[in-house]
Symmetry: C2
Subunit: 340 residues, 2 copies
DNA sequence: GCCGGCGATGTTGACGTCAACATCGGAAGC
DNA sequence: GCTTCCGATGTTGACGTCAACATCGCCGGC
């Protein structure tokens, strides 16, 4: 954590002032765009800035203003579909608000790592913090610096921190009901890992829906979000003659399941129907095009930033705010009635 | 770009000092971990910090030290495969070095936007800058603050800025030669957009390889990296009876091509062979598993950070350093000899 | 010709931290 | 008992910027 001492010390406002033959304050006025500077003086200052390659020292401004124009963002595996798209949305919205985003990733799902990341970031200069992750191991009460605005992408934080989450439950109900409507007797479930809160929510909603509909509840098949885990589960499913419909907790696992089924000679959707979750850009272009539950990551990101900005700007306290972003079922070609 | 005035003015070192009944300097000593503080005094200070919820003001430290422990990262569409994986690697390596990453995205490929992003970031305090993008419209000589260390993920910058790039040329040769070896008379090419430098490099290498092998060069089919564009191109390809092999500039377009071919009743690889580029995690689990050129985004990210840190740490000047990260062909099931 | 007033510019101090130097008090050595 | 030394703690100033206040010079009005 040792950081190179004394980064390039660049020219300061005083250097510009000297070169332009004015006081530092006049330079400051020019660089903040104040009105009351004679055009001729302004020109001279601008020329001096240009010559020296001056740009204002943000540390000094931040110190002066008590604000950094930066928000921190903690994510677990940031190359993953949901994460990267949410981050993209946050970054875009933040830019519109004049803020920059500081990114920290967290290696393991453990809570120690999160605490560490929070410490790292609050050590950095941030005006607020967004946490994009949802591991069940994450402590619900985070050890945050006092008065630090926070927004979290996990509805488990309700009552602790303002949260934004997709509507896992409705999405799951739509998916399962779609399969039941097609005539399937029951629906198998390929779940995400045990330590993922959204995975747990999807699995619980699936179970509840089956129970509520009086259907048998097959054993849950647990994957780890990767296509590979879906593939391995798919091989087991292919051997299970009773399975006719599978609801997968994400699209990657669904793709793995489909490939395993093909390899085993079982056709999708003729022999088995498969539904995914997320609606990744490729979902439509898999073969067959995947029926899936669409989540709007972009909106999640926007809402997160909005919640955060309201706290930063307005000093609002939003502790138990919870925003649920709707999900919807996109029916494509991977689902059909069960074989006769 | 106006930023909320005066963020939460938390307790300062002086408040802690007063509560603990010591001087500010002693508090500073405790918080920087200096040795020479009586254990009893240290305890009292720590207790006071705890009570007030003190954490050191990073802006003040940055001002003092002249370093933010932050590097800037500019990317175009950061949710895209290559971008997000490279970013992930950069963030991870940066953390290992004790640095945080500040993210700015660029909406359009135009150079004005890049200049703007650079300005935004150097306005922030960063110790170095990584630019992950490769649009041909990006000016080769960037208007950077003087003395700002930079690393760029585009080999076009050679001679201007230290650059890291995947070996597009070798990757392309491997892919095309693989198809020729299988017995295809020639290879069609689905290219990325005109404004992408890697797309141009792949297309040029493809053309060169065909010419060098004395094969006819079919018209280039230009997509925009999305699966949808691949799908539309695929429909045209399906109608072209002469096409037996297609080299696509990325995996998403390859997936779109494959789907279009299936819809048109043409089998992959029996009727047409398809090769992609990138080796996205899903490539192996498409149907059929996609033969593709693997690029190591993680390594690209690592190298970028390494180049940057060498400049930040050692004051090295690396202007014409160029690192080429190898690519390799991963043969799966989407390629086969042409139909008899 | 003097004065009020106003716009342009300069001066001072404060933001929070920490390094360098100053001071203070006690223990060891003679 | 007095000096010396050393470790613990305090004081000062500087990092770069900008708001608040001070000053300066000029113009117009009488």
């Amino acid at each position: 954590m040792t950081v190179a001492a004394r980064g390039r010390p660049g020219p300061s406002i005083a250097d510009v002032a000297q070169l332009a033959g004015v006081s530092a304050q006049t330079v400051s006025r020019v660089s903040t765009g104040a009105e009351n500077v004679r055009p001729e003086t302004r020109e001279r200052v601008l020329a001096a800035m240009d010559e020296l390659g001056y740009s204002p020292n943000h540390a000094a401004r931040a110190l002066r203003y008590g604000s950094f124009g930066t928000i921190g963002l903690i994510a677990h595996r940031l190359a993953r579909t949901g994460e990267s798209r949410t981050i993209e949305a946050v970054v875009e919205s933040a830019r519109a608000e004049g803020y920059t985003v500081s990114l920290v990733d967290v290696r393991t799902p453990g809570s120690a790592d999160v605490t560490d990341a929070v410490a790292r970031l609050s050590h950095q200069s941030i005006d607020g913090l967004i946490i994009i992750r949802a591991e069940t191991a994450t402590p619900v009460a985070l050890a945050l610096p006092p008065r630090m605005p926070v927004a979290v992408s996990d509805s488990r934080f309700v009552g602790h921190h303002p949260a934004v989450g997709a509507d896992q439950v409705t999405g799951t109900h739509l998916a399962v009901q779609h399969l039941l409507d097609l005539g399937h007797r029951t629906v198998h479930h390929v779940a995400g890992p045990d330590d993922s809160a959204p995975a747990q929510m999807r699995a619980a909603a699936w179970r509840e829906h089956l129970v509520g509909s009086g259907r048998p509840v097959p054993e849950v098949l647990v994957g780890d979000w990767t296509a590979r885990s879906g593939y391995e589960i798919g091989r087991r499913l292919a051997a299970d003659a009773s399975a006719t419909a599978v609801y997968c907790a994400n699209d990657e696992m669904a793709a793995g399941v489909v490939r395993a089924l093909y390899e085993a000679g079982r056709r999708v959707p003729d022999d088995l129907s498969v539904v995914g979750f997320d609606d990744i850009p490729l979902a439509e272009f898999l073969w067959p095009p995947l029926t899936t539950v669409q989540q709007d990551f972009h909106q999640i990101g926007d809402r997160l930033l909005d919640l955060l900005m309201r706290q930063i700007r307005g000093r609002e306290t939003l502790t138990d705010t919870r925003i649920v972003v709707p999900t919807r079922l996109v029916v494509r070609a991977s689902t059909a009635p069960p074989p006769a």
